[in-house]
């Protein structure tokens, strides 16, 4: 009962935040609201007992992304351009149809925590029954992430590394050239 109440409250706040983001024109306030949105999502994950996901969402979504977006804002500008003048009807229809299709898609999804869900019948029982004996790690999430699915995690780390290289190629290079120019005279 109390969990449902928390869920409804968090979801209501999510909707309010999203609505406020849509209506606002100050980019600084929007970024702050994005941070709040991530924190609320982290709260939802925590209610669903997904502590690791909540932890990641709180630190990456609410923390680092907010800082990086603020850093971008410092380089560009504080205010969004004026509201577009064209009529909103065509985008509204597209969004409505896509949203209805997504809601229709959720009908087939098994309910939350259903033990008969396909995702819980494939390899999950093996992880749960033999995970501690095979890896010696009490936190199942870490056991799956680092040991059973080590290959996937290697891919994730490579993605982060590649993203860093991309940003450095786009932004880092020019700065160094500027520094060199300053050194010359």
């Amino acid at each position: 009962m109390i969990e449902t109440l928390i869920d409804v409250t968090l979801l209501a706040f999510l909707a309010i935040t999203a609505n406020a983001i849509l209506r606002m024109r100050s980019l600084f306030a929007i970024i702050m609201l994005f941070g709040i949105y991530s924190l609320l999502s982290a709260g939802l994950f925590a209610v669903m007992d997904a502590a690791d996901v909540a932890f990641t969402e709180a630190s990456v979504g609410a923390g680092i992304s907010t800082v990086l977006m603020l850093a971008t804002l410092a380089l560009t500008g504080m205010r969004e351009e004026k509201a577009p003048a064209h009529q909103p009807w065509l985008p509204l229809v597209v969004v409505a149809i896509t949203g209805l299709a997504l809601v229709y898609g959720t009908i087939d999804i098994p309910s939350f925590g259903d033990p008969q869900a396909p995702a819980h019948l494939h390899v999950a029982p093996r992880y749960i029954e033999h995970g501690l004996a095979e890896t010696g790690v009490p936190n199942l999430v870490t056991a799956v992430l680092a040991s059973y699915r080590g290959f996937d995690t290697l891919g994730e780390v490579t993605v982060i590394f590649t993203a860093g290289i991309g940003v450095l190629l786009l932004l880092g290079r020019q700065r160094r050239r500027k520094d060199d120019e300053q050194d010359v005279p």
Binding site: A51, D52, A54, F55, T56, S59, V60, G63, I64, V67, L68, A71, T72, A74, L75, E134, T135, G136, V137, P138, N139, V141, T142, A143, L145, A146, S147, G150, F151, T153, L154, E156, V157, T158, I160, F161, A163, G164, V167, L168, L171, G172, R175, K178
Partner: protein, 139 residues
């Protein structure tokens, strides 16, 4: 932020605590929530706070960019290297059981090493991206 005395004092208190918490998340990931990804992000958050309060110059004196680049590559290298070591020692790629005398000990060691690699790469890349953005503003 030249004259914000309160901010500077508070940051000096908080930064070591955040770093300690990052270490806890890194090495306690086997037992509680957390792991290399979260620890790396928290670790970089401590330095970002330091940069915001004390300026980019002093932050780059503590962790120079070349060191961050090396650490970012080293993390991926440690991870991949663990995989190749397990290959060489007769296991499959990233099968840590062959790393120590007992399979459980090997698993424990392997997970510790690759989580360290993950933490290194994530923390360095986050800081590199932040420094790249913050550095653009420099006159």
């Amino acid at each position: 932020m030249k004259h914000n005395l309160i901010l500077k004092i508070i940051a000096k208190f908080i930064v070591p605590v955040i770093l300690l918490f990052a270490m806890y998340v890194q090495f306690h990931g086997d037992f509680g929530p957390g792991g290399g990804f979260q620890a790396g992000v928290i670790f970089s958050a401590a330095f970002i706070l330091y940069t915001l309060v004390f300026g980019l110059g002093s932050a780059e004196r503590i962790i120079p960019t070349w060191l961050l680049r090396t650490l970012a590559s080293l993390g991926v290298l440690v991870y991949t290297g663990t995989g190749f070591v397990t290959l060489l020692w007769g296991g499959r790629f990233l099968d840590y059981s062959v790393l120590a005398a007992t399979p459980l000990g090997g698993q424990h060691l392997g997970i510790l090493v690759i989580e360290a690699g993950v933490g290194m790469t994530v923390a360095s890349v986050m800081l590199l991206i932040f420094f790249a953005f913050a550095g653009r503003n420099r006159p």
